[in-house]
Amino acid sequence: MSKYMIVGNSAAAIGAIEGIRTVDKQDKITVISQEPYLCYSRPLISYFLAGKISGEKLYYRGKEFYEKNKVNLYLGSRAVKVNSREKNIELEDGACIPYQKLLIATGSRPAVPPVKGLGKDGQHFFYSLSDVYSLRDNIKGRERAVVIGGGLIGLKAAEALLLCGLKVTVIERSPYLLSSILNEKASRLLEERIQSSGIRLVLGNSVKEVIGDARVEGVTLEDGEEIDCSILVLAAGVKPNTEILEGIDAAIGTGIQVNRRLETSLENIYAAGDVAEAETLLTKEKKVIPIWPSAYCQGLVAGKNMAGIDRECDEEFPRNSISFFGLNIITAGLLEMGDKGKEITSIDSQNSTYQRILMENDRVTGMIKIGEVNQAGIITWLIKNKVPANSFKELLKRKCFNPIHLPLSVREKLYREEGARR
Protein backbone atom coordinates (compact mmCIF):
# COMPACT_ATOMS: atom_id res chain seq x y z
CA MET A 1 0.00 0.00 0.00
CA SER A 2 1.13 3.47 -0.77
CA LYS A 3 1.65 5.63 2.26
CA TYR A 4 1.21 8.76 0.24
CA MET A 5 -1.54 9.32 -2.27
CA ILE A 6 -1.64 12.38 -4.49
CA VAL A 7 -4.59 13.18 -6.71
CA GLY A 8 -3.41 15.46 -9.49
CA ASN A 9 -0.11 15.70 -11.33
CA SER A 10 0.81 19.33 -11.83
CA ALA A 11 2.91 21.87 -9.89
CA ALA A 12 1.46 21.12 -6.43
CA ALA A 13 1.84 17.36 -6.93
CA ILE A 14 5.47 17.71 -8.01
CA GLY A 15 6.12 20.02 -5.04
CA ALA A 16 4.61 17.42 -2.73
CA ILE A 17 6.70 14.59 -4.16
CA GLU A 18 9.84 16.64 -3.70
CA GLY A 19 8.70 17.67 -0.21
CA ILE A 20 8.02 14.10 0.84
CA ARG A 21 11.34 12.94 -0.56
CA THR A 22 13.37 15.48 1.43
CA VAL A 23 12.17 13.61 4.50
CA ASP A 24 11.11 10.11 3.51
CA LYS A 25 13.07 8.38 0.78
CA GLN A 26 11.42 5.00 1.17
CA ASP A 27 7.68 4.89 1.54
CA LYS A 28 5.62 4.58 -1.60
CA ILE A 29 4.00 7.52 -3.32
CA THR A 30 1.09 7.06 -5.69
CA VAL A 31 -0.04 9.76 -8.09
CA ILE A 32 -3.42 9.53 -9.77
CA SER A 33 -4.15 11.96 -12.54
CA GLN A 34 -6.93 12.39 -15.00
CA GLU A 35 -4.62 13.85 -17.62
CA PRO A 36 -2.70 11.30 -19.67
CA TYR A 37 0.61 13.20 -19.59
CA LEU A 38 3.63 13.40 -17.36
CA CYS A 39 3.68 16.70 -15.50
CA TYR A 40 3.99 19.49 -18.01
CA SER A 41 4.16 23.20 -17.40
CA ARG A 42 0.69 24.49 -18.04
CA PRO A 43 1.79 28.09 -18.72
CA LEU A 44 3.88 26.78 -21.62
CA ILE A 45 1.00 25.59 -23.76
CA SER A 46 0.83 28.93 -25.54
CA TYR A 47 4.53 28.72 -26.38
CA PHE A 48 3.93 25.21 -27.68
CA LEU A 49 0.99 26.20 -29.87
CA ALA A 50 2.95 29.13 -31.27
CA GLY A 51 5.77 26.75 -32.17
CA LYS A 52 8.25 28.51 -29.90
CA ILE A 53 9.08 25.32 -28.02
CA SER A 54 9.03 21.63 -28.81
CA GLY A 55 6.79 19.18 -27.00
CA GLU A 56 9.80 17.85 -25.14
CA LYS A 57 10.28 21.19 -23.42
CA LEU A 58 6.81 21.11 -21.91
CA TYR A 59 7.90 18.64 -19.24
CA TYR A 60 8.35 20.37 -15.92
CA ARG A 61 10.70 17.71 -14.61
CA GLY A 62 12.69 15.18 -16.58
CA LYS A 63 10.93 12.03 -17.70
CA GLU A 64 12.90 10.01 -15.19
CA PHE A 65 11.52 12.12 -12.34
CA TYR A 66 8.84 9.65 -11.26
CA GLU A 67 11.09 6.66 -11.32
CA LYS A 68 13.83 8.48 -9.48
CA ASN A 69 11.38 9.45 -6.78
CA LYS A 70 9.75 6.02 -6.62
CA VAL A 71 6.34 7.23 -7.66
CA ASN A 72 3.62 4.91 -8.93
CA LEU A 73 1.95 6.89 -11.60
CA TYR A 74 -1.61 6.25 -12.70
CA LEU A 75 -2.38 8.49 -15.63
CA GLY A 76 -5.74 8.83 -17.28
CA SER A 77 -7.58 7.72 -14.14
CA ARG A 78 -10.10 9.95 -12.49
CA ALA A 79 -10.58 9.84 -8.75
CA VAL A 80 -14.20 10.70 -8.04
CA LYS A 81 -14.65 10.41 -4.33
CA VAL A 82 -12.80 10.24 -1.04
CA ASN A 83 -14.08 7.90 1.65
CA SER A 84 -12.42 9.61 4.57
CA ARG A 85 -13.67 7.13 7.18
CA GLU A 86 -12.42 4.11 5.26
CA LYS A 87 -9.34 6.08 4.20
CA ASN A 88 -9.56 5.26 0.56
CA ILE A 89 -10.26 7.01 -2.70
CA GLU A 90 -12.66 5.80 -5.28
CA LEU A 91 -11.84 5.82 -8.98
CA GLU A 92 -14.30 6.30 -11.81
CA ASP A 93 -14.34 2.55 -12.49
CA GLY A 94 -15.30 1.84 -8.90
CA ALA A 95 -11.91 0.67 -7.68
CA CYS A 96 -10.96 1.85 -4.19
CA ILE A 97 -7.37 2.62 -3.28
CA PRO A 98 -6.36 3.03 0.36
CA TYR A 99 -4.16 5.87 1.63
CA GLN A 100 -2.51 6.95 4.83
CA LYS A 101 -1.85 10.54 3.80
CA LEU A 102 -3.76 12.07 0.94
CA LEU A 103 -3.10 15.24 -1.02
CA ILE A 104 -5.79 16.78 -3.16
CA ALA A 105 -3.99 18.63 -5.94
CA THR A 106 -6.74 18.50 -8.52
CA GLY A 107 -6.22 22.06 -9.70
CA SER A 108 -8.86 24.00 -11.51
CA ARG A 109 -10.69 23.96 -14.79
CA PRO A 110 -11.85 26.65 -17.16
CA ALA A 111 -15.12 28.33 -16.32
CA VAL A 112 -17.86 28.38 -18.95
CA PRO A 113 -19.08 31.89 -19.70
CA PRO A 114 -22.84 32.55 -19.88
CA VAL A 115 -23.11 32.61 -23.67
CA LYS A 116 -25.90 31.20 -25.84
CA GLY A 117 -25.12 28.61 -28.48
CA LEU A 118 -22.03 27.05 -26.92
CA GLY A 119 -20.90 23.52 -27.74
CA LYS A 120 -20.28 23.77 -31.46
CA ASP A 121 -17.32 22.33 -33.30
CA GLY A 122 -14.53 24.90 -33.33
CA GLN A 123 -15.00 25.85 -29.70
CA HIS A 124 -12.03 25.29 -27.44
CA PHE A 125 -10.69 25.93 -23.99
CA PHE A 126 -7.06 26.96 -23.63
CA TYR A 127 -6.09 25.27 -20.43
CA SER A 128 -4.59 21.84 -20.90
CA LEU A 129 -2.25 20.14 -23.31
CA SER A 130 -5.22 18.23 -24.73
CA ASP A 131 -6.91 21.56 -25.44
CA VAL A 132 -3.87 22.65 -27.39
CA TYR A 133 -3.59 19.43 -29.36
CA SER A 134 -7.19 19.67 -30.50
CA LEU A 135 -6.89 23.40 -31.17
CA ARG A 136 -3.76 22.81 -33.23
CA ASP A 137 -5.59 20.29 -35.39
CA ASN A 138 -8.66 22.41 -35.69
CA ILE A 139 -7.03 25.68 -36.78
CA LYS A 140 -5.58 24.14 -39.93
CA GLY A 141 -7.06 26.02 -42.83
CA ARG A 142 -9.03 28.34 -40.55
CA GLU A 143 -8.74 32.07 -40.82
CA ARG A 144 -10.44 33.78 -37.94
CA ALA A 145 -10.53 33.21 -34.22
CA VAL A 146 -12.42 34.91 -31.42
CA VAL A 147 -11.16 34.68 -27.87
CA ILE A 148 -13.61 35.33 -25.06
CA GLY A 149 -11.68 36.86 -22.18
CA GLY A 150 -8.83 39.37 -22.05
CA GLY A 151 -7.14 37.89 -19.01
CA LEU A 152 -3.81 36.07 -18.80
CA ILE A 153 -5.05 32.89 -20.47
CA GLY A 154 -7.11 34.64 -23.15
CA LEU A 155 -4.32 36.96 -24.18
CA LYS A 156 -1.73 34.19 -24.29
CA ALA A 157 -4.13 32.17 -26.46
CA ALA A 158 -4.66 35.17 -28.73
CA GLU A 159 -0.93 35.77 -29.07
CA ALA A 160 -0.31 32.15 -30.00
CA LEU A 161 -3.18 32.03 -32.48
CA LEU A 162 -1.92 35.17 -34.17
CA LEU A 163 1.54 33.63 -34.45
CA CYS A 164 -0.16 30.61 -36.04
CA GLY A 165 -1.37 32.94 -38.75
CA LEU A 166 -4.98 33.53 -37.73
CA LYS A 167 -6.82 36.81 -37.54
CA VAL A 168 -7.71 37.17 -33.90
CA THR A 169 -10.28 39.21 -32.00
CA VAL A 170 -10.31 39.31 -28.20
CA ILE A 171 -13.53 40.20 -26.46
CA GLU A 172 -13.27 41.40 -22.89
CA ARG A 173 -16.13 42.40 -20.66
CA SER A 174 -14.03 44.85 -18.57
CA PRO A 175 -13.13 48.21 -20.03
CA TYR A 176 -9.47 47.20 -20.12
CA LEU A 177 -7.23 44.12 -20.41
CA LEU A 178 -5.83 42.04 -17.54
CA SER A 179 -8.11 43.89 -15.17
CA SER A 180 -7.37 41.43 -12.38
CA ILE A 181 -3.69 42.39 -12.22
CA LEU A 182 -3.33 45.80 -13.90
CA ASN A 183 -4.77 49.25 -13.34
CA GLU A 184 -6.15 51.09 -16.33
CA LYS A 185 -3.04 53.18 -17.04
CA ALA A 186 -0.78 50.15 -17.16
CA SER A 187 -3.32 48.25 -19.18
CA ARG A 188 -3.36 50.90 -21.89
CA LEU A 189 0.34 50.33 -22.55
CA LEU A 190 -0.34 46.66 -23.03
CA GLU A 191 -3.33 47.46 -25.19
CA GLU A 192 -1.17 49.53 -27.54
CA ARG A 193 1.33 46.71 -27.86
CA ILE A 194 -1.32 44.11 -28.52
CA GLN A 195 -3.19 46.23 -31.01
CA SER A 196 -0.05 47.05 -32.94
CA SER A 197 0.54 43.31 -33.27
CA GLY A 198 -2.64 43.04 -35.30
CA ILE A 199 -4.99 41.56 -32.74
CA ARG A 200 -8.35 43.31 -32.61
CA LEU A 201 -9.55 44.16 -29.13
CA VAL A 202 -13.18 44.66 -28.25
CA LEU A 203 -13.38 45.99 -24.70
CA GLY A 204 -16.35 46.63 -22.44
CA ASN A 205 -18.43 44.23 -24.48
CA SER A 206 -19.28 40.56 -24.35
CA VAL A 207 -20.43 37.74 -26.54
CA LYS A 208 -24.15 37.14 -26.44
CA GLU A 209 -24.43 34.22 -28.78
CA VAL A 210 -22.37 31.90 -30.90
CA ILE A 211 -23.59 31.68 -34.50
CA GLY A 212 -23.50 28.51 -36.61
CA ASP A 213 -25.10 25.09 -36.74
CA ALA A 214 -22.74 22.26 -35.99
CA ARG A 215 -19.71 24.45 -36.44
CA VAL A 216 -18.81 27.89 -35.07
CA GLU A 217 -19.40 30.51 -37.77
CA GLY A 218 -19.23 33.66 -35.72
CA VAL A 219 -20.37 35.45 -32.59
CA THR A 220 -22.91 38.16 -31.85
CA LEU A 221 -21.92 40.74 -29.26
CA GLU A 222 -24.14 42.47 -26.71
CA ASP A 223 -24.17 45.62 -28.83
CA GLY A 224 -25.35 43.66 -31.85
CA GLU A 225 -22.09 43.49 -33.79
CA GLU A 226 -21.41 40.21 -35.53
CA ILE A 227 -17.90 38.88 -35.89
CA ASP A 228 -17.10 36.01 -38.27
CA CYS A 229 -14.91 33.27 -36.89
CA SER A 230 -14.46 29.54 -37.18
CA ILE A 231 -12.47 29.13 -33.99
CA LEU A 232 -13.78 30.22 -30.61
CA VAL A 233 -11.63 30.09 -27.49
CA LEU A 234 -13.25 30.35 -24.08
CA ALA A 235 -10.95 31.94 -21.52
CA ALA A 236 -13.30 33.33 -18.91
CA GLY A 237 -11.49 32.37 -15.73
CA VAL A 238 -10.99 29.15 -13.82
CA LYS A 239 -12.85 27.22 -11.18
CA PRO A 240 -11.28 24.93 -8.52
CA ASN A 241 -11.94 21.20 -8.88
CA THR A 242 -13.29 20.69 -5.38
CA GLU A 243 -15.83 17.96 -6.21
CA ILE A 244 -13.73 15.11 -4.90
CA LEU A 245 -14.17 16.37 -1.32
CA GLU A 246 -17.75 17.50 -1.66
CA GLY A 247 -20.49 15.80 0.36
CA ILE A 248 -18.17 14.55 3.11
CA ASP A 249 -18.10 17.51 5.50
CA ALA A 250 -14.90 19.06 4.21
CA ALA A 251 -14.70 22.83 4.63
CA ILE A 252 -15.00 24.22 1.12
CA GLY A 253 -15.34 27.87 0.14
CA THR A 254 -14.34 28.75 -3.39
CA GLY A 255 -11.63 26.16 -2.97
CA ILE A 256 -10.89 23.49 -0.38
CA GLN A 257 -10.01 25.33 2.80
CA VAL A 258 -6.60 24.62 4.29
CA ASN A 259 -4.49 25.90 7.17
CA ARG A 260 -0.84 26.86 6.91
CA ARG A 261 0.18 23.21 7.06
CA LEU A 262 -2.09 22.67 4.06
CA GLU A 263 -4.34 20.42 6.14
CA THR A 264 -7.98 20.36 5.15
CA SER A 265 -10.69 20.04 7.78
CA LEU A 266 -10.46 16.27 7.38
CA GLU A 267 -7.80 14.22 9.11
CA ASN A 268 -4.84 13.08 6.98
CA ILE A 269 -6.14 14.95 3.96
CA TYR A 270 -4.22 17.88 2.58
CA ALA A 271 -4.85 20.20 -0.36
CA ALA A 272 -2.52 22.43 -2.35
CA GLY A 273 -2.41 24.51 -5.51
CA ASP A 274 -5.28 25.92 -7.53
CA VAL A 275 -7.82 23.81 -5.64
CA ALA A 276 -6.81 25.11 -2.21
CA GLU A 277 -8.09 28.13 -0.42
CA ALA A 278 -5.73 29.50 2.21
CA GLU A 279 -5.38 32.65 4.24
CA THR A 280 -3.56 35.20 2.13
CA LEU A 281 -0.73 37.46 3.20
CA LEU A 282 -2.06 40.92 2.57
CA THR A 283 -5.77 40.86 3.22
CA LYS A 284 -5.96 37.84 5.51
CA GLU A 285 -8.99 36.57 3.60
CA LYS A 286 -9.22 32.94 2.65
CA LYS A 287 -8.64 32.90 -1.07
CA VAL A 288 -7.55 30.75 -3.96
CA ILE A 289 -4.43 32.17 -5.59
CA PRO A 290 -4.15 30.16 -8.78
CA ILE A 291 -0.53 30.77 -9.73
CA TRP A 292 2.21 28.29 -10.51
CA PRO A 293 4.78 29.32 -7.86
CA SER A 294 2.18 29.15 -5.06
CA ALA A 295 1.03 25.74 -6.20
CA TYR A 296 4.56 24.37 -6.14
CA CYS A 297 5.40 25.93 -2.76
CA GLN A 298 2.17 24.75 -1.17
CA GLY A 299 2.77 21.28 -2.52
CA LEU A 300 6.29 21.27 -1.11
CA VAL A 301 5.11 22.19 2.38
CA ALA A 302 2.16 19.80 2.20
CA GLY A 303 4.57 17.01 1.28
CA LYS A 304 6.84 17.72 4.23
CA ASN A 305 3.89 17.73 6.60
CA MET A 306 2.57 14.52 5.10
CA ALA A 307 5.96 12.96 5.75
CA GLY A 308 5.77 13.90 9.37
CA ILE A 309 7.69 17.11 9.85
CA ASP A 310 5.89 20.19 10.96
CA ARG A 311 6.14 22.98 8.37
CA GLU A 312 4.05 26.06 7.73
CA CYS A 313 3.62 27.55 4.33
CA ASP A 314 4.33 31.23 3.74
CA GLU A 315 1.10 33.07 3.25
CA GLU A 316 0.66 33.59 -0.43
CA PHE A 317 -0.08 36.72 -2.37
CA PRO A 318 -0.90 37.20 -6.03
CA ARG A 319 1.97 37.78 -8.41
CA ASN A 320 2.53 37.31 -12.09
CA SER A 321 5.30 37.65 -14.63
CA ILE A 322 4.25 37.52 -18.22
CA SER A 323 5.07 39.04 -21.56
CA PHE A 324 3.11 39.78 -24.69
CA PHE A 325 4.87 40.50 -27.96
CA GLY A 326 8.04 41.31 -26.05
CA LEU A 327 6.42 43.64 -23.53
CA ASN A 328 7.33 42.36 -20.09
CA ILE A 329 4.95 42.71 -17.20
CA ILE A 330 5.52 41.86 -13.55
CA THR A 331 2.92 42.48 -10.87
CA ALA A 332 2.69 41.54 -7.21
CA GLY A 333 0.41 42.15 -4.27
CA LEU A 334 -2.71 44.24 -4.25
CA LEU A 335 -4.19 46.15 -7.14
CA GLU A 336 -6.26 48.54 -5.07
CA MET A 337 -5.44 50.54 -1.98
CA GLY A 338 -7.48 51.82 0.92
CA ASP A 339 -8.19 55.47 1.79
CA LYS A 340 -4.84 55.94 3.49
CA GLY A 341 -2.91 54.40 0.65
CA LYS A 342 -0.30 56.16 -1.44
CA GLU A 343 0.60 55.58 -5.03
CA ILE A 344 4.16 56.06 -6.26
CA THR A 345 4.15 56.11 -10.02
CA SER A 346 6.73 56.66 -12.69
CA ILE A 347 5.89 56.50 -16.36
CA ASP A 348 7.77 56.75 -19.62
CA SER A 349 5.17 56.11 -22.29
CA GLN A 350 7.64 56.65 -25.10
CA ASN A 351 9.54 53.58 -24.03
CA SER A 352 6.45 51.69 -22.90
CA THR A 353 7.65 51.59 -19.34
CA TYR A 354 5.48 52.11 -16.35
CA GLN A 355 5.88 51.44 -12.68
CA ARG A 356 3.40 51.81 -9.89
CA ILE A 357 4.12 50.99 -6.26
CA LEU A 358 1.29 51.03 -3.72
CA MET A 359 1.95 51.78 -0.07
CA GLU A 360 -0.31 51.54 2.89
CA ASN A 361 0.58 52.26 6.51
CA ASP A 362 4.30 52.36 5.88
CA ARG A 363 4.28 49.06 3.95
CA VAL A 364 4.55 48.31 0.25
CA THR A 365 1.40 46.44 -0.75
CA GLY A 366 1.40 46.37 -4.53
CA MET A 367 3.64 46.57 -7.60
CA ILE A 368 3.06 46.91 -11.31
CA LYS A 369 6.07 47.05 -13.59
CA ILE A 370 5.77 47.19 -17.34
CA GLY A 371 8.59 47.31 -19.86
CA GLU A 372 11.52 47.56 -17.49
CA VAL A 373 11.18 44.67 -15.04
CA ASN A 374 14.73 43.99 -13.87
CA GLN A 375 15.02 43.98 -10.08
CA ALA A 376 11.29 43.61 -9.55
CA GLY A 377 12.04 40.90 -6.97
CA ILE A 378 13.22 43.34 -4.36
CA ILE A 379 9.77 44.94 -4.36
CA THR A 380 8.21 41.48 -4.14
CA TRP A 381 10.41 40.90 -1.10
CA LEU A 382 9.32 44.16 0.52
CA ILE A 383 5.70 43.16 0.04
CA LYS A 384 6.19 39.62 1.25
CA ASN A 385 8.08 40.62 4.38
CA LYS A 386 5.97 43.69 5.13
CA VAL A 387 9.13 45.74 5.49
CA PRO A 388 8.55 49.26 6.94
CA ALA A 389 9.35 51.46 3.95
CA ASN A 390 8.59 55.04 4.93
CA SER A 391 12.25 55.96 5.32
CA PHE A 392 13.04 55.12 1.68
CA LYS A 393 9.71 55.54 -0.04
CA GLU A 394 10.95 58.39 -2.24
CA LEU A 395 13.53 56.05 -3.71
CA LEU A 396 10.82 53.60 -4.75
CA LYS A 397 10.09 55.97 -7.61
CA ARG A 398 13.24 54.78 -9.30
CA LYS A 399 12.77 52.07 -11.83
CA CYS A 400 16.13 50.61 -10.87
CA PHE A 401 15.29 50.42 -7.15
CA ASN A 402 17.56 47.72 -5.77
CA PRO A 403 19.15 46.57 -2.51
CA ILE A 404 21.57 49.51 -2.46
CA HIS A 405 18.62 51.81 -1.83
CA LEU A 406 17.61 49.97 1.33
CA PRO A 407 18.68 51.21 4.76
CA LEU A 408 21.69 49.23 6.00
CA SER A 409 19.70 47.37 8.66
CA VAL A 410 17.15 46.19 6.11
CA ARG A 411 19.83 45.20 3.62
CA GLU A 412 21.66 43.23 6.31
CA LYS A 413 18.45 41.41 7.11
CA LEU A 414 17.96 40.65 3.43
CA TYR A 415 21.42 39.16 2.89
CA ARG A 416 21.42 37.35 6.22
CA GLU A 417 18.00 35.79 5.94
CA GLU A 418 17.40 35.17 2.26
CA GLY A 419 20.74 33.79 1.14
CA ALA A 420 20.60 31.08 3.75
CA ARG A 421 16.87 30.79 4.25
CA ARG A 422 15.25 27.43 4.71
Partner: protein, 173 residues
Protein backbone atom coordinates in the same frame (compact mmCIF):
# COMPACT_ATOMS: atom_id res chain seq x y z
CA UNK B 1 26.20 17.16 4.96
CA UNK B 2 28.46 18.63 2.38
CA UNK B 3 30.66 21.68 2.33
CA UNK B 4 29.94 24.16 -0.43
CA UNK B 5 31.47 27.47 -1.34
CA UNK B 6 29.64 30.77 -1.28
CA UNK B 7 30.63 34.22 -2.42
CA UNK B 8 30.35 36.62 0.48
CA UNK B 9 29.84 40.32 -0.06
CA UNK B 10 31.36 42.87 2.28
CA UNK B 11 30.04 46.13 0.96
CA UNK B 12 32.23 48.22 3.32
CA UNK B 13 35.28 47.08 1.31
CA UNK B 14 33.83 47.70 -2.15
CA UNK B 15 35.59 50.58 -3.88
CA UNK B 16 33.27 50.59 -6.91
CA UNK B 17 36.08 49.82 -9.35
CA UNK B 18 33.89 47.51 -11.42
CA UNK B 19 36.55 44.83 -11.83
CA UNK B 20 33.95 42.25 -10.84
CA UNK B 21 31.98 43.16 -13.95
CA UNK B 22 35.10 43.33 -16.09
CA UNK B 23 36.37 39.90 -15.05
CA UNK B 24 32.91 38.40 -15.16
CA UNK B 25 32.89 39.30 -18.86
CA UNK B 26 36.34 37.82 -19.26
CA UNK B 27 35.33 34.60 -17.52
CA UNK B 28 32.40 34.18 -19.88
CA UNK B 29 34.20 35.20 -23.05
CA UNK B 30 35.50 32.80 -25.67
CA UNK B 31 39.08 33.91 -25.25
CA UNK B 32 39.18 34.32 -21.48
CA UNK B 33 41.69 37.06 -22.17
CA UNK B 34 40.92 40.55 -20.96
CA UNK B 35 42.24 42.39 -24.02
CA UNK B 36 40.58 40.10 -26.52
CA UNK B 37 37.36 40.11 -24.51
CA UNK B 38 37.13 43.88 -24.59
CA UNK B 39 38.48 44.47 -28.07
CA UNK B 40 36.66 41.70 -29.86
CA UNK B 41 33.91 40.19 -27.75
CA UNK B 42 32.71 43.07 -25.66
CA UNK B 43 29.34 43.39 -27.33
CA UNK B 44 28.56 39.75 -27.22
CA UNK B 45 29.50 38.91 -23.67
CA UNK B 46 27.69 40.56 -20.80
CA UNK B 47 28.61 40.59 -17.14
CA UNK B 48 26.49 38.46 -14.85
CA UNK B 49 26.98 40.76 -11.89
CA UNK B 50 25.82 44.37 -11.85
CA UNK B 51 27.80 46.95 -9.95
CA UNK B 52 25.45 49.46 -8.33
CA UNK B 53 26.66 52.77 -6.96
CA UNK B 54 24.85 55.12 -4.62
CA UNK B 55 27.61 57.37 -3.35
CA UNK B 56 29.47 56.65 -1.16
CA UNK B 57 28.16 53.11 -1.27
CA UNK B 58 28.77 50.54 -3.98
CA UNK B 59 28.57 46.80 -4.44
CA UNK B 60 27.72 44.23 -7.09
CA UNK B 61 24.26 42.72 -7.29
CA UNK B 62 25.03 39.04 -7.55
CA UNK B 63 23.25 35.74 -7.14
CA UNK B 64 23.59 34.49 -3.56
CA UNK B 65 22.88 30.91 -4.63
CA UNK B 66 20.26 30.84 -1.89
CA UNK B 67 19.77 27.50 -0.18
CA UNK B 68 16.02 27.74 -0.52
CA UNK B 69 16.13 29.65 -3.78
CA UNK B 70 12.85 31.41 -4.57
CA UNK B 71 13.74 31.58 -8.27
CA UNK B 72 14.05 27.78 -8.42
CA UNK B 73 10.83 27.16 -6.57
CA UNK B 74 8.87 29.60 -8.71
CA UNK B 75 10.30 28.71 -12.14
CA UNK B 76 7.43 27.62 -14.35
CA UNK B 77 9.52 25.49 -16.69
CA UNK B 78 11.98 23.86 -14.32
CA UNK B 79 14.83 25.66 -16.12
CA UNK B 80 16.14 27.22 -12.93
CA UNK B 81 17.69 24.48 -10.88
CA UNK B 82 20.14 23.55 -8.15
CA UNK B 83 23.10 21.47 -9.26
CA UNK B 84 24.95 18.95 -7.14
CA UNK B 85 27.12 21.72 -5.71
CA UNK B 86 23.99 23.62 -4.66
CA UNK B 87 24.64 26.31 -7.24
CA UNK B 88 21.58 27.95 -8.72
CA UNK B 89 21.80 27.69 -12.50
CA UNK B 90 19.56 28.35 -15.48
CA UNK B 91 19.16 25.74 -18.20
CA UNK B 92 18.80 28.03 -21.19
CA UNK B 93 17.41 25.25 -23.35
CA UNK B 94 14.45 24.89 -21.04
CA UNK B 95 13.93 28.57 -20.25
CA UNK B 96 11.21 30.44 -22.14
CA UNK B 97 11.96 33.87 -20.70
CA UNK B 98 8.87 34.36 -18.57
CA UNK B 99 11.05 36.12 -15.97
CA UNK B 100 9.24 34.70 -12.98
CA UNK B 101 12.77 34.39 -11.56
CA UNK B 102 13.18 38.16 -11.79
CA UNK B 103 9.87 38.62 -10.01
CA UNK B 104 11.13 36.39 -7.20
CA UNK B 105 14.83 37.24 -6.72
CA UNK B 106 15.09 39.54 -3.69
CA UNK B 107 18.65 40.52 -4.60
CA UNK B 108 17.92 41.86 -8.05
CA UNK B 109 20.61 39.46 -9.18
CA UNK B 110 18.87 38.09 -12.27
CA UNK B 111 18.49 40.39 -15.26
CA UNK B 112 17.25 40.16 -18.79
CA UNK B 113 20.02 39.42 -21.27
CA UNK B 114 20.61 42.46 -23.43
CA UNK B 115 21.82 40.41 -26.37
CA UNK B 116 18.87 38.06 -26.18
CA UNK B 117 15.98 39.63 -24.31
CA UNK B 118 14.11 36.38 -24.06
CA UNK B 119 16.58 34.89 -21.60
CA UNK B 120 17.67 35.77 -18.08
CA UNK B 121 21.29 36.17 -17.06
CA UNK B 122 22.79 35.36 -13.68
CA UNK B 123 25.97 34.34 -11.89
CA UNK B 124 26.98 30.76 -12.67
CA UNK B 125 29.92 30.71 -10.25
CA UNK B 126 32.24 30.70 -13.28
CA UNK B 127 31.19 27.18 -14.25
CA UNK B 128 31.79 25.78 -10.79
CA UNK B 129 35.29 27.21 -10.62
CA UNK B 130 37.20 26.88 -7.37
CA UNK B 131 37.49 30.61 -7.29
CA UNK B 132 35.19 32.67 -9.48
CA UNK B 133 36.84 35.47 -11.48
CA UNK B 134 35.05 38.26 -9.57
CA UNK B 135 36.45 36.98 -6.28
CA UNK B 136 39.88 36.38 -7.76
CA UNK B 137 40.14 39.92 -9.10
CA UNK B 138 38.37 41.93 -6.42
CA UNK B 139 41.20 44.19 -5.26
CA UNK B 140 39.93 44.94 -1.79
CA UNK B 141 38.33 41.78 -0.51
CA UNK B 142 34.75 42.94 -0.96
CA UNK B 143 34.00 39.60 -2.56
CA UNK B 144 35.46 36.63 -0.77
CA UNK B 145 34.93 32.95 -0.88
CA UNK B 146 33.37 31.43 2.16
CA UNK B 147 32.68 27.85 2.99
CA UNK B 148 29.15 27.09 3.90
CA UNK B 149 27.66 23.93 5.22
CA UNK B 150 24.68 22.64 3.33
CA UNK B 151 22.41 20.07 4.78
CA UNK B 152 20.54 17.89 2.40
CA UNK B 153 17.27 18.01 4.25
CA UNK B 154 15.32 20.24 6.53
CA UNK B 155 17.29 21.06 9.63
CA UNK B 156 15.64 21.74 12.93
CA UNK B 157 13.54 18.66 12.63
CA UNK B 158 11.57 18.40 15.75
CA UNK B 159 10.78 14.79 16.13
CA UNK B 160 13.19 11.98 16.53
CA UNK B 161 11.70 9.75 13.83
CA UNK B 162 12.35 12.41 11.27
CA UNK B 163 15.82 12.84 12.73
CA UNK B 164 16.63 9.23 12.00
CA UNK B 165 15.31 9.57 8.48
CA UNK B 166 17.46 12.64 7.95
CA UNK B 167 20.57 10.67 8.65
CA UNK B 168 19.48 8.01 6.24
CA UNK B 169 18.93 10.63 3.65
CA UNK B 170 22.31 12.16 4.27
CA UNK B 171 24.15 8.96 3.68
CA UNK B 172 21.95 8.02 0.79
CA UNK B 173 23.72 9.87 -1.94
Amino acid sequence: MTKKMKIELREEYCVGCGLCEVYCRVAHSQSRDIIKTFKKERWTVEPRVSLVIEKPLSFPLQCQHCEDAPCVKACITGAMYKNELELTLCDEDKCVGCFTCIMECPFGAIKIKENNPSLPLKCDFCFEADEPFCVLHCPNGALTLKEKIIKNVDESLNDSIAQVKTEEVDTDE
